[in-house]
């Protein structure tokens, strides 16, 4: 009995082990070989081998297997839906002929997961990642060069990117391209300050302020009228829409800027930086700025606006849907009683704002993929059918108004195209900017805010936009390594000074020392060298 039991147990365990080890996870016929080769290749994914890898992989153009002959494995960012069962999966398969299996990175720990997947050789063909994640993968030499593939199969991808210089941002020093950018749909969209015009009018303010001085006077009037009944101006810590709208009037628009002589300088070195911080500090000290400014997140500010606790607060067109809905349904306001303050002007007319962050996501192909040619062909086919994939069919999902604008037909548009943007890897940027507006028009509240801020500014004050001169900088050097940490330190320092836990005069010396120790000067040198070489 004992022997029989032992034999049975041993047999079960052996069978279980064999089943576990022979598991085919990708559903692809070549999965087992791909997996082993990927595991081998992952040992090459080190900084030391990156240069060697880039030159080797650029010639390793895989053969096109063609639609229907290969299943592509697609890894994208986290969103609350199942990309494999969404109607868009079928639309894309019908349009391109390619079957794709979709996976998502988690919302938390995405970087760790991505690095583990790529280093572990998981058989992905397409990675749609953030710029930061792309830079990490490129630095590790984990990506395939795309030059030959784009030449052979990606003509529409290349021609669709209106700004040809963008390719340099996703290339190495030898010109090997590793990423395809999915550009910001509408680079000139801006953040703004939402305000309750009903409360403002009750306090005797009939015009929305457009200059810094008017804005300050408006806040003082509200404070005098309402006292502590309301938060006069709510803002999130760091560098939110409120901070940007105010800093615009001081000529400050980014952490790194360039003067008229081509010299790169940091925000703290801007001639008006002290004035900007002092102005914010004055708002805080006088009780005009939210006392919880130091700990507010964007969502907290939106909540304070929605609940009617704040008269003014930072917002954007997307967040405005929930804010306006609450103000109208809950507090009985009309849409006309919700106002939007755009970036403010200084006394001398100064107003500068950075033209939007221009890259939403980057698509790249890991070295372990054996279907690189088909990936590029697949993306190219999606660009060719951009209108149908992204916003659908005329008369079914959208219609044109008299001015030729795309107007969504609801609810079909949202039901069937709501998640389309998750599947997009590249776009014809000029046509997509027009098509994307159909998504903004889904909600009257969203469109109202967008029209009165972004479109208004674009049409009436196009000169306030400052292009991001570092947009084309490749993901190399001290800037890539250190700038995120430097930026966090800067925002923390600004908050400390504004709320009074740090002193502007003495604190600046300490900040400068810390900044230099954290690689600030290295980043400056890196940016200056690149800027000088690229533009001059």
């Amino acid at each position: 009995m004992k022997k029989q039991l032992s034999l049975l147990l041993a047999a079960v365990m052996a069978a279980a082990t064999l089943m576990g080890c022979s598991r085919n996870t990708s559903g692809n016929n070549s999965a087992s070989t791909a997996g082993s080769s990927a595991a081998t290749e992952s040992t090459d994914a080190s900084p030391d081998s990156s240069s060697q890898a880039s030159s080797e992989t650029s010639t390793a153009t895989s053969e096109l297997k063609g639609p229907g002959n290969v299943t592509l494995s697609f890894l994208g960012f986290s969103l609350d839906f199942d990309p494999n069962t969404d109607v868009m999966a079928g639309v894309i398969e019908d349009t391109t002929g390619y079957h794709a299996e979709y996976s998502m990175l988690p919302s938390d720990g995405a970087d760790e997961k991505l690095i583990a997947d790529v280093a572990g050789g998981v058989d992905y063909d397409i990675l749609k990642v953030t710029v930061d994640q792309f830079q990490k993968l490129q630095a590790q030499g984990a990506l395939q060069s795309l030059n030959d593939l784009l030449d052979s199969y990606g003509q529409d991808i290349v021609s669709g990117l209106a700004d040809e210089n963008m390719w340099t941002a996703f290339s190495d020093d030898d010109g090997n391209i590793y990423g395809i950018p999915f550009m910001n749909e509408y680079p000139r969209q801006i953040g703004f300050i939402t305000c309750r015009k009903d409360l403002m009018e009750a306090a005797g303010i009939t015009e929305l302020p457009t200059t810094r001085d008017d804005f300050y006077n408006c806040l003082v009037t509200l404070k005098n009228y309402y006292g502590d009944d309301y938060i006069i101006l709510s803002a999130a810590n760091g560098w939110d829409a409120v901070c940007k709208c105010i800093a615009a009037s001081f000529g400050i628009y980014n952490d790194w800027m360039v003067d008229e002589n081509g010299q790169v300088f940091y925000m703290t070195e801007h001639e008006n930086f002290d004035d900007y911080i002092n102005f914010m500090k004055k708002l805080y000290d006088e009780g005009l700025l939210d006392s919880e400014f130091a700990v507010n997140m964007d969502d907290t500010v939106h909540e304070k606006l929605s609940s009617g606790r704040a008269i003014m607060g930072g917002s954007d067109h997307s967040a405005q849907i929930a804010i306006s809905t609450s103000l109208i349904d809950n507090l009985g306001l009309s849409l006309d009683e919700i106002g939007y303050i755009c970036p403010l002007e200084g006394p001398d007319g100064t107003c500068t704002i950075l033209a939007g962050d221009s890259v939403n996501y980057v698509t790249c192909i890991p070295k372990s993929s054996e279907n690189a040619a088909d990936v590029i062909n697949y993306i190219n086919l999606k660009v060719q059918n951009q209108e149908y994939i992204c916003i659908g069919e005329e008369g079914v999902h959208f219609e044109f108004d008299e001015a030729g604008n795309y107007i969504p037909i609801m609810p079909t548009f949202t039901d069937e195209k709501g998640n389309a943007w998750w599947y997009i890897n590249a776009t014809d940027t000029e046509t997509y900017a027009k098509q994307w507006l159909a998504r903004v028009r889904k909600s009257d509240y969203q469109w109202d805010a967008f029209e009165k801020t972004t479109i208004y500014t674009e049409e009436n004050h196009p000169d306030i936009y400052v292009d991001n001169v570092f947009l084309y900088k490749p993901a190399t050097g001290a800037y890539t390594e250190n700038n995120t940490a430097l930026k966090n330190d800067l925002f923390n320092y600004m908050i400390q000074v504004i709320v009074g836990t740090n002193d502007m005069d003495n604190g600046m010396t300490t900040f400068q020392n810390d900044w230099t120790a954290a690689g600030g000067e290295d980043v400056r040198t890196d940016l200056q060298t690149w800027y000088t070489g690229y533009y001059e």
């Binding site: 997996g35 494999n84 507090l331 609801m410």
Partner: protein, 303 residues
């Protein structure tokens, strides 16, 4: 006697008085503590079922301001909540079963003084408890074994938690050796001894270990996230984390869709998902609570 009795009476009265005072303080303290635990739960449940405008306006506290079930309906039908719950139940049930069996199977031989190699094997367990190979090597082992994106990938790497194994080993070592020796004399083999003598005598520690494993599998986020790639393998914890992080985007994109309603708010949806996710644990808790309390000290003192 009377005098002595009289003499001690004030002390007893004082003692009763101070005992009553302590008891009142304890009751007040524990009542406050209970409220501290219950009120957030009430708030979450209230937000789940209150009208969206009230939730958005910050008017919902500890009691619903109305009743609507659109958030719950959306979570059940518009997201992968049920599938994630199913995955979590599978992982928890089978994972706990496998873990308890392997832990008993490891702890018993290591608890026997006559087991050869006992010291070195115990050392290896202690060593691996202190030193970990790292995330990427562990990932590559799981990947090489073909376990990525499988239930086995979320279960097998954690089949034995060393701490639990040592707790069980200590308990086994504390059992009277005479019982096992007499079973040996009667001709019982190791399997018979474990199944018929050791396990029945170790019900408290087995219950505790089962509970610890079950809670561990149920709450496991990081490894479930790391070792799965597809949404169909997503466990409840991964689902919840993703839902909370992306809910604003999801709502913004779903404006005007067929299932969209003014009652759908980010807080309401989050509260609904959280409320429903705790239902299995809440249902199970009355049956396992006593093991939670007794389990902490089990095996810590060798008899």
């Amino acid at each position: 006697m009377n005098k002595r009795h009289y003499k001690f009476k004030p002390d007893k009265q004082r003692s009763d008085h101070s005992e009553r005072t302590v008891r009142i303080i304890a009751y007040v303290f524990l009542t406050v503590l209970c409220f501290l635990v219950i009120l957030p739960c009430l708030n979450v449940i209230s937000e789940a079922v209150s009208p969206g405008t009230d939730v958005l306006g910050g008017h919902v506290f500890f009691w619903p301001t109305g009743l609507q079930f659109e958030n719950i309906r959306y979570i059940l039908t518009g997201t992968s909540f049920l599938h994630s719950m199913f995955n979590s139940l599978i992982v928890t049930i089978f994972g706990t079963l496998i873990s308890v069996l392997t832990t008993i199977g490891t702890a018993y031989p290591l608890s026997r003084p006559d087991f050869r190699g006992r010291t070195i094997i115990t050392f290896l367990y202690v060593f691996s408890m202190i030193f970990f190979g790292g995330m990427i090597p562990a990932y590559m082992v799981v990947k090489t074994l073909g376990l990525i994106d499988t239930y086995a990938g979320i279960i097998l790497p954690f089949a034995i938690v060393q701490f639990n194994m040592f707790m069980m080993k200590n308990y086994f070592e504390a059992l009277p050796p005479e019982v096992i020796e007499s079973a040996c004399v009667d001709g019982a083999g190791d399997l018979k001894i474990v199944s018929s003598i050791v396990c029945p005598m170790s019900k408290p520690v087995i219950a505790t270990i089962t509970l610890l494993y079950a809670v561990g599998y149920w709450n496991n986020y990081f490894h479930a996230m790391l070792y799965t790639t597809s949404t169909k393998m997503q466990t409840l914890q991964v689902y919840l984390k993703n839902l909370i992080a992306n809910i604003q985007d999801t709502l913004a994109e779903s404006v005007g869709s067929t299932g969209y309603s003014q009652n759908l708010t980010s807080d309401g949806l989050t509260a609904s998902a959280v409320t429903m996710s705790i239902i299995p644990i809440v249902l199970l808790y009355p049956f396992i609570a006593r093991y939670l309390v007794s389990g902490i000290t089990i095996g810590s003192v060798k008899g």
